[in-house]
């Protein structure tokens, strides 16, 4: 009875061998490291810009220089967050790939039909939200850097710079929130995959060998 329930609870693809990694998983395996390294690089650069800005403030530097550095620092630092959150997402995709490829190989080694879970809705949400968050953060960070070089030492320009900073601050925070939500859905997908694997493994001894 439990077996029958399990078979109807999951949408699977049937094959005789492991289906290997799907495209997002292959991308994840390839890109987690460059993103991880880029994140560390941007965090370091953001910290340096923050120290330079603090020095300008302490020395009574020009208001436009301080505003320029404020935008540039935020832009660089949040490119770091975009990179590290992307690295986390890719590392989650890599884990899902291990389940997909490894689970298939185990079933094939047991000489049973290979059932592979079709991409769950949470995984599709994970990908869509990750792409949205990535674009939001990158666009906000690039705009910070563009605006940084558009500041003049006039009251109107400085006020514009401040208003732009306030809006972009909200936008990049939203990008972070959506990234965290994407990661939540990615991890929720792992729970579903584990549920499928535990169910499938228990089914294997009941099935006739394929060869």
């Amino acid at each position: 009875m439990a077996t029958a329930t399990a078979r109807t609870a999951f949408q699977v693809e049937r094959s005789t061998s492991s289906l290997g990694y799907n495209l997002p998983q292959r991308v994840g395996r390839l890109l987690w490291l460059p993103m991880f390294l880029m994140g560390l690089m941007f965090f370091g650069a953001g910290m340096v810009l923050g120290i330079v800005r603090a020095g300008e403030i302490a020395d009574g530097g020009a208001a436009d220089t301080i505003a320029t550095l404020q935008h540039a620092q935020a832009g660089v630092m949040f490119l770091g967050f975009a990179s590290v959150f992307a690295a986390i997402s890719f590392a989650i995709a890599r884990i899902l790939g291990q389940f997909r490829a490894g689970g298939g190989e185990v079933q094939a080694a047991a000489r049973r039909a290979v059932h592979t879970l079709k991409m769950p809705g949470t995984a599709k949400l994970f990908l869509a939200l990750m792409a949205t968050a990535m674009m939001t953060l990158v666009i906000a960070s690039v705009l910070h850097i563009v605006f940084a070089f558009d500041i003049e030492n006039t009251p109107a320009s400085l006020a514009d710079a401040e208003d732009r900073f306030v809006v972009l601050e909200g936008v990049r925070r939203m990008g972070i929130a959506v990234f965290l939500l994407a990661i939540l859905f990615g991890l929720a997908t792992i729970i579903r995959v584990l549920r499928f694997q535990a169910t499938r493994i228990r089914q294997l001894p009941e099935e006739a060998p394929t060869r």
Partner: protein, 307 residues
Amino acid sequence: MSALADLVRRPPPDTDPTQTLRIRSAAIAVGLLGVAAVATALVVNILVAGGDAGADNLFWTFGLSVAGFGTLKLAIALVLAGIVVRLWMRVDAVKAALPRLKAEADPGVARHGEIDTPFGRGTLTEKAPGLLPPQAMARIMWKPMIVMGPMLVLAGLVLSLLTTAADDPDTAQALWAWTQGTQFLGEAMLLAGISFLLGTILAGLREGGGEVQESLGLAVKTLRMPTSAKAFLVLMFGGFLLGIAQFVLYGVAAYTDDPATWFAWLGPLRELSLGILLSGIVLALFTIGTVLGFQHWRIKEILETGR
């Protein structure tokens, strides 16, 4: 704390693996609440920039945004707790199925010691090796972190509301400094809690893998701690110490004569601490992927060779 321990308690071996976990749906609901908080703060920020609301609102929108992030991180911690439980169900499933699936073979005499695997150096032992010290620590430490982190984030939200309402500039400066320091210490604790939960997952994989092999009467193959796991520990503790440092330094900035200078470098510093913690989480997830690859390889080996 005991309620948190119940969240990751190993289910009985005969638990039906098809049943769904309520914790997963609860976590998604909590996560959406966090996004709603950040979206509200974004709307108010736009109103402030457009001149439709006063600039003093930016203090509480900061507090609300960080509280939203904290809520999302709490949701992530809940999902990770669900993964810990599901991993135990997977261990019990493998233990139940493998004796009926594996090739019949004489176990022979195993040569215990160092081995090479496609996933790195490992060991071959008669009995399952115990947990590594960081894994044992992770199993204990995730709970206080997950309790204290949200408390600090909420305390910071209250401080941000008080900052908005403060009339005296000195009081506002002190409250604003404590808001930032407190909330980011809370965020650092939440990320440390998530890191410890990832360590708990690694502990479960090591313990479960050994348990399955031992139950079959086979010599136990275990991966040595990968370099990525060692780097994860360095980044995690480095980021967390920086999180504590920024809290202390914001305490100094609260009463300094030159707060603008202090805030200018403390802002990036607190972000750097979270960035380093997040980088550690990347490596923890990478390590989990590596260990899972090793486990699938080992199960396949047992199925094909019976040893």
